[in-house]
Amino acid sequence: MRYLPHTPDDIASMLRAVGAKDLDGLFPTIPENCRRTGDMKLPEPLTEWELTAYLGALSERVAVSPEYKVFMGAGSYEHYIPQSVSFLLSRSEFVTAYTPYQPEMSQGTLQAIYEYQTMVARLLGMEVANASIYDGASALAEALLMAVRITRKKRVAVSSLVHPLYRRVVRTYFEPAGYELVELPFRKNGTTDLSPVDHMDGLAALAVQSPNFFGCIENLGEAAEKIHKNEGLFITSFTEPLAYGLLKSPGVQGADIACGEGQSFGIPQSFGGPVLGMFAGKMKYVRSMPGRLVGKTMDREGKEGFVLTLATREQHIRREKATSNICTNNSLCALTAAMYMASAGRTGMRELASINHDKAEYLKKELKKAGVGIPFDSPTFNEFVVEFPADFESTYRRLMEKRIVAGFPLASFYPELAGHYLFCVTETKTREDMDALVKEITP
């Protein structure tokens, strides 16, 4: 086996050095009644070429672009990934290192994460971002737990237009601790009905997603005002960070914590993971923040360098009193997003966001022309909801056979929205792709 370097001679001489008779003799401390009975029933080893062929065949049984045109976002977005980003990410100095516990040997990771923190904070208009956590959903759960810690209140309000799977994750995190989650209904225009917030007591936080799950841009400023009056924290969530290439940031609109999913920034969709939990907040709450933080400092010769810092918040020091049980960040995904943000820059990010928005508007317009309903009239970014006649399901299936995924059916998450589909258009869809889709849908 090519990963195991020991020759029989090596093994013999090392066994002599440790005083064991054979390899099985290395385990005298494992009592007989703890030994495994029988071999592991696993397939026999494959060669590199057999493995490649097998995985190649498996991977062909998945519908992906360019063969398929997938007009579906809903928390996972198809964007072009620059070759320079993929190439740099294969640098094994980044890939095969661990958490930068020894700063002298990991300045590369540390500076890159410091730059990531800075760019995320700037993108979201916040003062400080952490080195990332698992995904957008767990980021929201952590943000709400943080608000509970800061305010010492045990109830939160969450918009029903926060991604339904994110809300499910929050419920899972809240259940054992017994915290309460109240969901806010949505209005006819596809945004959150914030009016109940005024009458709710004891709110630790209000969480709103923008653009929301229906793709609509929320009035974050109004939400911030309402929850601040109620002495709770304002948390904004997002699934599509590219929107902030164009839109006003959550920070400018009063967010105390802005968190969400960073997959759009150069990270492959990979069936949902690994992705990137972005997490940013106000400096005054930094000591309550979960996750790793990198800070700038000096070495003994006065040279600038970077270290993990404020570690006393974390589990390896504070154990059961830590701000979170989280240990690592999603470092390589954070690095990917940093490379992507650096490559795009202000100019590229804004232009790319405009392209996404304009293309989505084009498809919206063409569908409208074709007689399809657009039920929510709030402005959207690159996703929007379409209402089809009741018998659309058969068309949806027929389109799939033609290798088009015509949006995401909303009924599974919102039973009252049968026949409603969430469409997404990114820069990967051409005008021809959209025209073909409209042609297929129009009877």
């Binding site: 990963y3 001489s13 493995l51 760019m119 971002a129 589990q315 490559s343 795009a344």
Partner: protein
């Protein structure tokens, strides 16, 4: 000793991203704007985020230079205890990037994602077989996330049984993630001391275990690199009071094919695919922390679960007792592919051999260094061994000084100051993928450092001398945090 690995390389300085570039540059190929502009209301938009404008060359040079300041497993031996920094096979990276995997949308209907679901289903089965458990969830994103999942499963189990329990037993050698995960589930961790042999005694557990205690979190092999010999009896004690046994499987690399966790009384266990199953650590993630359970915990596993019927795979959320979801989707699929490839490349015989060689390497290091460094628990170790700086304290030299000097010899330091039960701990885990020659050089280097501690202690206090930076001021970093530029 032979010539050391460490030397000074060609290291280029590189400023922060925003200290480079010029407004108007762009490092990506912008897609065609093939539709009419449809501007948004000006009240909603800005001129774009405050990001630096760089060219593609700027970006490539920046990150290439940064990468050269880093040390990874591909650079050299990385004996970080409890982290299992084994070699990360390259074919696995390539296969995880196949378009059919990396381009898969998580909400595709099952019939359009059969390849993905089959791979996940098979991986679950492999991990169940390796651990001797009954079922597996791949959803947790990392080890700590797996622990949290495990604690939630235990919480749900007790809730179903109608009893509320408020405590959980956690040994003093445990990773900090253990008590932190337990606390998130509302459990109060009750510490139990390991005995003079470095393991748990049945008596100590029996004394603490009662009907208000949800169970115990053990790491086996533990963080001293020792097998918890009394585990079976301990499990019986915990079970007899209605509790459950959680095993932190971070150290599974020592016992593949040798111990079946299901047979020794473990009810729930997490694995770290980025440790035992060779997926790269990525500078601190992404990892993957599958959780394996015995039959009685299956109903509570996170949803959706992968089900198979006549060779067709689907995702099902029809499990009403499930704890729910830990991530928006199904876990770190990209990492799972690599672990799957590793298991298929190794096969059962080589996996077992990997554990044997990991244990051989650790014992070989222990035997060769125990005269040079104090070995608090002088017993057969598993995949790692723990020394202390007790001998070197005589020269006013600490573990920190020694490992910083080890960098100058071209090795990454071991884990230090953990576990907490050993003062000045130095926890060495070589893994099976290091050859005898590399390990001999590592041993010689540590011996040389120990000698310098005696002969020239200042050299150690000034170390490292050959890295991009010298020791950094962590005190002012924490007193006056500068977390963004």
């Amino acid at each position: 000793m032979k010539e050391s690995l460490g030397t000074t390389g060609l290291i280029l300085n590189e400023p922060l991203l925003w200290e480079k570039g010029k407004s108007g540059r762009c490092g990506i190929s912008l897609p065609r704007h093939d539709v009419d502009p449809a501007p948004l209301d000006k009240d909603l938009t800005t001129e774009g985020p405050d990001l630096p404008d760089l060219s593609e060359v700027d970006v490539v040079r920046h990150y290439t230079r940064l990468s050269q300041w880093n040390f990874g497993v591909d650079s050299g031996m990385y004996p970080l205890g409890s982290c299992t920094m084994k070699y990360n096979p390259k074919i696995n990276e390539k296969l995880a990037n196949l378009k059919g995997f990396s381009g898969a949308h998580p909400l595709l209907p099952a019939h359009l994602s059969q390849g993905v679901l089959k791979l996940m289903f098979e991986l679950e089965q492999f991990l169940a077989e390796i651990t001797g458990m009954d079922a597996v969830t791949l959803q947790p994103a990392a080890g700590a996330h797996g622990e949290l999942t495990g604690m939630m499963l235990i919480h749900a189990y007790h809730k179903k049984k109608g009893g509320h329990r408020s405590k959980i037993i956690v040994p003093d050698t445990a990773h900090g993630t253990n008590p932190a995960s337990a606390a998130l589930c509302g459990y109060r961790p009750v510490p139990v001391r390991s005995n003079e042999q470095g393991i748990l005694s049945t008596g100590a557990v029996a004394e603490l275990m009662d009907e208000d205690t949800a169970g115990i979190m053990v790491t086996n092999p533990n963080t001293l690199g020792l097998f918890e010999e009394n585990i079976k009896k301990i499990a019986e004690i915990v079970h007899s009071k209605g509790g459950l046994v959680y095993c932190d499987g971070a150290n599974m690399n020592a016992v593949m094919g040798i111990v079946s966790m299901g047979e020794i009384g473990v009810d729930v266990l997490h694995l770290n695919l980025h440790k035992t199953f060779s997926t790269p650590h990525g500078g601190g993630g992404p990892g993957s922390g599958p959780v394996c359970v015995r039959k009685h915990l299956i109903p509570f596993l996170p949803v959706p679960r992968i089900i198979e019927k006549n060779g067709a795979y689907a995702l099902s959320s029809e499990f009403p007792e499930s704890i729910g979801k830990l991530q928006a989707f199904y876990g770190n699929f990209g990492v799972m592919i690599k672990a799957y490839c590793y298991i298929r490349s190794m096969g059962p015989v080589n996996l077992r051999k990997a554990s044997q060689l990991a244990v051989l390497n650790a014992n070989y290091i222990k035997e060769n260094l125990k005269k040079v460094f104090h070995l608090p628990y002088d017993r057969n170790c598993m995949h790692e061994c723990v020394f202390s700086d007790k001998f070197q304290n005589a020269y006013k030299i600490t573990t920190l000084d020694m490992v910083k000097r080890l960098m100058d010899y071209g090795f990454h330091p071991p884990t230090i100051y953990f576990p907490l039960v050993v003062s000045g701990a130095m926890m060495i885990e070589p893994t099976e993928t290091e050859s005898k020659e590399t390990i001999d050089l590592f041993i010689d280097s540590l011996k040389a450092v120990a000698n310098e501690a005696k002969e020239n202690p200042d050299l150690l206090r000034q170390a490292p001398g050959r890295c991009k930076v010298t020791r950094l001021d962590e005190v002012s970093a924490a007193r006056h945090p500068c977390l963004a530029g």
